[in-house]
């Protein structure tokens, strides 16, 4: 295992007290909807911490047993389609998911994620080469991801959105003003 040198996670919420390291991948297919990320019946739980243990429950019951802060979600097209529930990126953030790398994202999920400070990266190249359990390292500034020593290109996050992400979300960025 190569020594991971990660300098990219300036996102405060995601990194406070968290060890820098390679993250392992959970890989899912296309059209993963927000009901699968967090089902309707859990949306009324008073806190995100109570909701987060049900993340991906209908899709992958192993996920919650194995996920650790710093892990990644890699998905095919249209990740986060369906409802407008902001709890979907919120549970991923609460679990410490470092970034979601997908071929494409549904628009409401994309906006919500940026606003909450969850990096959502359009990344077409890596999907066919990565499997659940593989370890990767994302360089958001340079727009690439490393897997087994191979570099896969990702789309760079637009500067305005990067700024929001760096500050930990819309709320944190408004507080700065």
């Amino acid at each position: 295992m190569p020594e991971a040198v990660i300098d990219i996670q300036r996102n405060k919420f995601m990194t406070d007290g968290m060890e820098f390291r390679m993250g392992k991948v959970f890989k899912y297919g296309k059209d993963v909807d927000t009901d699968q990320i967090i089902a309707s019946q859990y949306l009324l739980y008073p806190t995100i911490d109570e909701m987060k243990v049900h993340t991906f429950e209908s899709l992958d019951s192993e996920f919650i047993k194995n996920v650790a802060p710093g892990d990644y979600i890699v998905a095919d097209e249209n990740f986060g389609c369906g409802s407008s529930r902001e709890q979907a990126p919120a549970v991923l953030k609460a679990l410490g998911i470092k970034a979601v790398l997908a071929k494409s994202f549904a628009r409401i999920f994309y906006r919500n994620s940026i606003n909450l400070g969850v990096p959502v990266i359009v990344c077409s190249d890596i999907y066919d080469h990565v499997n659940t359990g593989d370890e990767i390292e994302l360089n958001m500034d340079e727009g690439y991801v490393m897997l087994n020593g191979v570099k896969y290109n990702c789309t760079k996050v637009p500067p305005y959105m990067k700024e929001i992400l760096d500050q930990g979300g819309l709320l944190a960025s408004l507080e700065k003003i």
Binding site: L44, L59, F105, R107, R111, L116
Partner: protein, 415 residues
């Protein structure tokens, strides 16, 4: 000179700039916003957390309780208390506590009218495209931002033009049309884009039929699904039919990224099969699928015309012995009209379970939750895994016509 798409016309009117085109980022000033019961506590908390004191314009804010009415779990009422407290604090008078589904009430009560820009904390906010409004769903953090500032940045979307001409065959509804289009586009096919509907098939449709279609455009990922407002829309919305009131002419000269052309005569009754909304099959190919339940309702197909269509089929008949038929009118006014027209008696005599107006089973919180291996034919908009119970429930999305026939026969059928 290149003309404009409908979304460009609507946004130009909002920002008072005739040069706005697809790809531009603009700040729009919403004519109305809608928050429903599930997210009102989160919006209120974020609003206060952001340091805002007063909502920019209380008259432009509508709060609707629908997903959780009546409450089904112990803590549900917390959301109503939160909404009531926020409305009182902010002087918000447009609050509906048990009047029906938000996406029916917004156009029905004329909160959303032609040419408006509307945001809601629900993905099916796209429904008001049926009356020619630009409306789309956002998260609760962005909603809190709008409440404090009165504006939101958006990227003007590119447009997919959908042309349908001709007369739909008997028994084929606008639900079958939109399901077919979603099947062709796929669940991601219109992501970030506006869908714009044009042709004499849509001219012949009622406002209700158009609302059904606009409602489902999000299932192809669309930012909005727009119909040109016409005389019917203007009457429905209580406005004069002119450009100043958002009734734009369909000149067909916009810059479209994709154009789909259909002949109305080619459509057939279809269903979205478990568990993808773009997994579309003709009903005629679905053989021997025994069902346990039928749901007729929701912001997609819980309108008076839908209930009439179902009643016509159910009149003098009874549901199959093992089928539970759940009828949920989309609003209070639809409910009473259905009573006055005798539809409710037909449903009652047929053995249906008639529920209060609201979201009901569609959001999987109450009123007919299913379990492993069970099958439901439903008129709503989503058949996602786990939507109406466990992740082994089979949900077939179809029209009220197919739903009613299936309830009588006990298997998936359209006659």
């Amino acid at each position: 000179m290149m003309g404009a798409t409908l979304i460009e016309k609507i946004i130009r009117r909002n920002v008072h700039d005739d040069n706005v085109k697809a790809g531009d980022i603009v700040f729009v000033k919403p004519d109305r916003v809608m928050i429903h019961d599930i997210f009102i506590p989160f919006v209120a908390d974020k609003f206060h957390e952001m340091g805002f004191k007063k909502v920019w314009d209380p008259d432009k804010v509508v709060i609707i309780y629908d997903h959780m009415v009546p409450s089904s779990q112990v803590d549900d009422t917390r959301h109503f208390r939160s909404g009531d407290a926020f409305a009182k604090e902010q002087g918000i008078e447009h609050i509906h506590r048990a009047d029906g589904v938000c996406h029916q009430l917004m156009p029905e009560l004329r909160y959303a009218t032609p040419g408006d820009v509307v945001f809601g904390t629900d993905s099916h906010t796209v429904t008001y495209g049926g009356v020619g409004a630009f409306s789309t769903g956002i998260g609760y953090t962005e909603m809190a931002g709008i409440l404090g500032t009165g504006e939101l940045w958006i990227k003007v979307p590119e447009t997919i033009r959908v042309n349908v001409n001709g007369k739909l065959p008997q028994g084929v509804t606008s639900k079958d049309v939109i399901l077919t289009i979603i099947g062709d586009l796929t669940a991601a096919g219109a992501t970030y884009k506006s869908m714009e509907f044009s042709g004499d098939t849509f001219d012949a449709m009622s406002v209700s039929e158009r609302l059904t279609m606009a409602n489902m455009t999000i299932e192809a990922g669309a930012k909005c699904g727009l119909f040109y407002a016409d005389e019917k829309t203007a009457e429905f919305s209580g406005v004069p039919c002119d450009e100043a009131h958002g009734c734009f002419k369909d000149e067909g000269d916009g810059d479209y990224v994709q154009v789909l052309n259909y002949k109305a005569e080619d459509f057939v009754p279809v269903a979205a099969c478990p568990s993808q909304v773009d997994k579309i099959r003709p009903i005629s190919e679905l053989k021997d699928i025994k069902i346990d339940q039928v749901f007729i309702g929701s912001c997609t197909n819980g309108r008076l015309e839908d209930l009439r269509a179902a009643a016509e089929i159910l009149k003098g008949k009874h549901v199959a012995p093992y089928v539970k038929l759940i009828i949920t009118p989309a609003s209070r006014s639809i409910y009473i009209k259905a009573v006055q027209e005798g539809l409710m008696k037909i449903f009652n005599d047929a053995g249906a379970i008639i529920m209060n107006p609201g979201c009901g089973l569609c959001c999987g919180r109450s009123g007919g939750i299913l379990t492993d291996g069970e099958t439901v034919v439903a008129t709503n908009n989503r058949n996602f895994l786990g939507r109406m119970g466990t992740n082994k429930v089979n949900i077939y999305l179809a029209s009220p016509v197919t739903a009613a026939h299936s309830a009588v026969k006990g298997y998936v059928t359209n006659g």
